[in-house]
């Protein structure tokens, strides 16, 4: 019997160590290393006039204090330069990226001004408290309206606070809208939120002066790229730098940004001091000096016919990018393209401006611009249905791209710089499934029954399409050891997605070995040098396919070597449970461990098994050299997967909410998900990803927001005040799957990581609007805001009587 690994909902191999306290997260490493703390700007915008460290020098245990001047004095000029602009774009005409320590001006509360190194973190913080920084406070730009008004500037040389301006157009949308039988305009608003992984960032650096080599552990989503960036910044040969992502306690996007100021400063200090140095971010630091997301104002104008078909769609939006643009304009690009969802928009025009504000920088958070785009499109669909008095699901259905339209070309450029072409998907079937799951057509009876009891309930629906698995590439290394065990390495990193398990499943399936014989390493540059990173729901697509392709190469080699040993045609061989044998003939096989021995012709035997490959063992063909011209020793291979473009997953969510007529409390009664991420590698893990995404979506729709006052002071930078949902706030998720395999990759998979969070804001706006009978155009929404909306609408309807 062949044991299947692929597609099996197996438990995760990383779990036993993580549940027993044996994980190795960043702060679990480097005991005894020097500790770092930072003096960070308490002002949103301020000139740094003086840094007085006199008092701090008396702190026992202090090792060093560094300011920007110390970086500038370094013989290597690159240390003090601005951090890299990671993703340049022609439309990003005024990119600005911070220096590792503020160079004269701080542009948001939390920007690092002084770095302190001491014997432990307590002492480092003591010293920070005694450092006196004199600031000249400058006017702060907070919020998109203030940024657009541009009475004040975030960067002195950017007059209008606009970092980027981009227009994409297909057809003549204004003309199509003007000619349409019906038109609507919507003003929409989504507030700031943040990734908020339970583990903040952290960096631990070891410099080996004798070897002139640097080892850096960092809680990152992109260790290989950190390596290249550090080699460049610190002027070291790349092969003298290794970067390892240990166990990472969640990322959700924020840890894709790199190199963080601390990722440069900690290794820099370690080299300078010749000591191990570590910095672990505390929660307040994470709120004020990592990154945030969401935050857009949108204006949608749509033209449609009597049946609700969209004829033209014109979207203008303003994106708050915070103080700097290290990650370019990926978030608004994603909004502007993924907004279209499963629909044909008719003519489409989208224009955005990305705005500087004196707040924490904005970079992707799970969903990465899609929740905002879906909010715009789905609110528009609901508004069309309201206007025409049509069922909201029907209006959506009428605008769907059909399965026979695939591949569907939107004639736009996606976030990977490649054409926005959907590869596959079946939206009508998804809609049927979600309607059945939530009981869409039966809801009116439920509404009436609730009304009879004095209760107010509403149902919402939201659809999305998610471009996943963007390139440029990922690679993998696979080796069968002479023990028969298989080692797999890939460069992208893991933050809890279960990559050790799913990549082992793929390798086991391709090689025909028990999954327990496969071990997987991710995010360690000592094991795999070339990679891009974990973002945009790409790990399963990119590294998953790279592992499959590499395992196939190893398999082919194993069959060739075994064929020679068994005197059989490789085409007639199969590998079952780690044994190569003639197809369907159990017994006379040769174990992979022996094939591994034979793959490496030896002069020296290192154990009993290895004797078979030595030069007098009689296994060598004397007519050929021991290693053929096009061959290499070892039963191993390296290969890469590089897709032509992204693959497009999709899904539909439906929710039933109840709003309290008195208190405006919002209660979730049902939450249903239909999800299509192509072929499933491990259904249990996909399901877990959806649950987690939905929880973040619920948070983003009903609880979480980053609040600044008009001076740019963050008002809720703690878990006391930034309301991440507890178990009491998150509903039980009911799920159904659809599998339309991607034709773009060998495994047929699409990404699953972000899906759960994408439609939530739109979904709850839809359900709450349905319960209340008025249109919700701003998310998140709290009970007090809903209560205020009720008052406004009551006044308005009084006035109209």
């Amino acid at each position: 019997m062949v044991t299947r690994a692929f597609g099996v909902p197996m438990t995760r191999r990383e779990d036993p160590r993580l549940v027993s306290g044996n994980g190795r997260y960043l702060d679990d490493l480097g005991e005894g290393a020097l500790a770092v703390a930072f003096v960070r700007s308490p002002h949103a915008h301020a000139r740094i006039l003086d840094v007085d460290v006199t008092e701090a020098l008396e702190v026992e245990g202090l090792v060093a204090i560094y300011t920007y001047e110390d970086l500038a004095d370094d013989p290597n000029p690159r240390v003090s330069e601005p951090l890299p602009l990671l993703i340049p774009h022609p439309a990003l005409h005024a990119p600005r990226v911070n220096t590792p320590l503020a160079d004269g001006i701080a542009r948001h509360v939390g920007e690092a001004v002084v770095m302190v190194v001491a014997t432990d973190r307590y002492v480092a913080e003591d010293a920070c408290e005694r450092i006196v920084v004199e600031y000249e406070v400058l006017p702060a730009v907070v919020g998109i309206p203030a940024a657009v008004e541009a009475s004040h500037r975030v960067h002195a040389d950017v007059d209008d606070n606009v970092s980027a301006h981009l227009v994409q157009e297909v057809g003549d949308a204004p003309a199509a809208i003007a000619a349409a039988p019906h038109t609507l305009s919507l003003d929409l608003d989504i507030e700031r939120s943040a990734s908020m992984p339970m583990e903040g960032k952290g960096v631990y650096a070891r410099w080996d002066a004798a070897d002139r080599s640097l080892t850096v552990y960092t809680s990152t989503q992109a260790s290989t790229s950190v390596r290249f960036a550090l080699a460049a910044k610190l002027d070291l040969p790349v092969d003298r730098v290794e970067v390892i992502a240990p166990d990472v306690g969640g990322g959700f996007g924020v840890k894709i940004v790199h190199p963080w100021p601390e990722e440069v400063l900690i290794p820099w200090a370690a080299i300078k001091l010749g000591r191990e140095v570590k910095w672990v971010e505390d929660r307040r630091e994470h709120f004020i000096s990592s990154t945030h997301e969401r935050g857009q104002l949108q204006k949608v104008t749509v033209g449609f016919d009597d049946e609700g078909h969209v004829l033209g769609l014109d979207v203008e939006f303003w994106h708050d990018n915070g103080a700097y643009t290290p990650y370019g304009i990926i978030v608004p690009i994603v909004t502007s393209t993924q907004l279209l969802g499963p629909y044909k928009p008719g003519a489409y025009r989208v224009e955005f401006r990305s705005m500087y504000t004196n707040t924490v920088t904005v970079t992707p958070y799970r969903g990465a611009g899609r929740p905002q785009g879906v909010f715009a499109m789905e609110r528009t669909m609901d508004a069309i249905a309201d206007t025409l008095g049509l069922d909201r699901a029907l209006v959506r259905e009428r605008n769907f791209i059909q399965p026979e339209d695939m591949p569907y070309d939107h004639h736009l450029t996606f976030q990977d710089g490649r054409p926005l072409i959907y590869d596959s998907g079946d939206y009508p079937t998804s809609l049927e499934k979600i309607k059945a799951l939530v009981g869409w057509d039966e809801f009116e009876a439920i509404r009436e029954a609730a009304r009879a009891e004095g209760r107010r309930v509403g149902i919402g629906l939201a659809c999305y399409v998610e471009g996943t698995g963007p390139g440029p590439y990922e690679g993998a290394f696979v080796r069968v050891e002479t023990t028969g065990k298989v080692v797999v390495a890939t460069g992208l990193t893991t933050q809890g997605q279960g990559h050790e398990t799913v990549f082992a499943q793929i390798a086991a399936e391709e090689l025909g070995v028990p999954v327990d014989d496969v071990s997987v390493t991710t995010g360690d540059t000592r094991r795999f040098k070339y990679a891009v990173g974990t973002f945009a729901s790409r790990a399963a697509v990119m590294s998953g396919n790279a592992v499959a392709l590499t395992a196939r190469k190893v398999r082919a080699k194993a069959l060739r070597i075994a064929g020679e040993a068994l005197e059989a045609d490789p085409k007639d061989l199969e590998i079952v449970d780690g044994v190569v044998r003639v197809k369907g003939v159990p017994g006379d096989g040769i174990p992979l461990r022996t094939v591994a021995v034979l793959s490496n012709p030896l002069r020296y035997a290192f154990d009993e098994e290895a004797k078979r490959a030595t030069q007098f063992a009689g296994t060598s063909d004397m007519s050929k050299p021991p290693i053929d011209e096009d061959d290499e020793p070892g039963l191993e291979a390296t290969d890469y997967y590089s897709p032509i473009r992204s693959t497009f997953a999709s899904g539909m969510h439906a929710a039933v909410v109840e709003t309290d007529p008195e208190t405006a409390e919002i209660k979730i009664l049902r939450y249903c998900v239909v999800h299509d991420c192509g072929t499933l590698i491990n259904p249990r893990i996909v399901e877990g990803q959806i649950h987690g995404g939905v929880a973040q979506g619920v948070g983003g729709a009903l609880y979480e927001r980053i609040v600044y006052d008009e001076n740019g002071q963050p008002l809720n930078a703690s878990y006391m005040d930034f309301l991440i949902p507890y178990a009491s706030e998150v509903p039980t998720v009911e799920t159904d799957h659809l599998e339309t395999p991607s034709p773009l990759n060998p495994l047929g998979v699409k990404g699953a990581g972000e899906a759960g969070v994408i439609p939530s804001a739109a979904l709850f706006a839809s359900a709450i609007s349905d319960a209340e009978g008025f249109f919700v155009n701003r998310m998140p929404i709290s009970p007090s805001e809903l209560w205020a909306l009720r008052e406004q609408h009551a006044v308005a309807s009084e006035g109209s009587k």
């Binding site: 438990t11 995760r12 990383e14 779990d15 036993p16 993580l18 549940v19 027993s20 306290g21 044996n22 994980g23 190795r24 997260y25 702060d27 679990d28 005991e31 026992e60 307590y122 908020m196 992984p197 339970m198 583990e199 166990d247 990472v248 306690g249 969640g250 959700f252 505390d282 929660r283 933050q495 809890g496 997605q497 279960g498 249990r684 893990i685 399901e687 877990g688 649950h691 987690g692 995404g693 939905v694 929880a695 973040q696 703690s718 878990y719 006391m720 991440i724 507890y726 178990a727 009491s728 998150v730 039980t732 998720v733 759960g756």
Partner: protein
């Protein structure tokens, strides 16, 4: 800074540490005793990742000074193992039910649930959800953690 000798029983083993009075229990466990399974997610008592059992009761080790628990009996996630050294019932339940993803918050859940099941060995689903209501998880959406509580109760009963 004055050092104080603190003696406590940690996971059944008598341990001592010499710490300044301001040393948090979490830091003492992690850095002085090398028990890094206890994690710090917020350092202000909200997230529950650092929960350990002090004399059997779940407490936030980020809100306690090490010197304040002198003489106490402390259980960390490392001490929630089965007597034979294998995974304890709560730990095994998390594996069985996919109750964790990144695993950073998990130690706090394991200790919290271990204490809870001593009080209420057969919780309903609603009670299970209530039992974990003071711990934050950013990955799982809690659904599988609720399942893990119920599964742990089952495993405990079986053994």
């Amino acid at each position: 800074m004055t050092q104080h000798d603190v003696t406590f029983t940690v996971n059944g083993v008598p341990r001592t540490a010499s710490v300044p009075s301001r040393r948090l229990l979490a830091d003492a466990l992690r850095h002085d005793l090398g028990l890094t399974g206890t994690h710090l997610g917020c350092e202000h008592g909200v997230c529950g990742s650092c929960t350990v059992l002090v004399d059997g009761r779940p407490m936030r080790s980020c809100l306690l000074f090490a010197v304040s628990v002198d003489g106490a009996e402390i259980t960390t996630v490392e001490g929630c193992r089965a007597p034979d050294g294998g995974l304890g019932p709560v730990q095994q339940a998390f594996v069985d039910c996919h109750g964790l993803q990144c695993g950073f918050c998990t130690p706090g859940f394991v200790t919290t649930i271990t204490a809870y099941l001593r009080e209420n060995p057969e919780p309903t689903e609603e009670e299970a959800r209530e039992a974990i209501g003071g711990n934050l998880c950013r990955c799982t959406g809690y659904q599988n953690i609720v399942k893990s509580v119920l599964r742990a109760a089952e495993l405990q009963k079986e053994s």
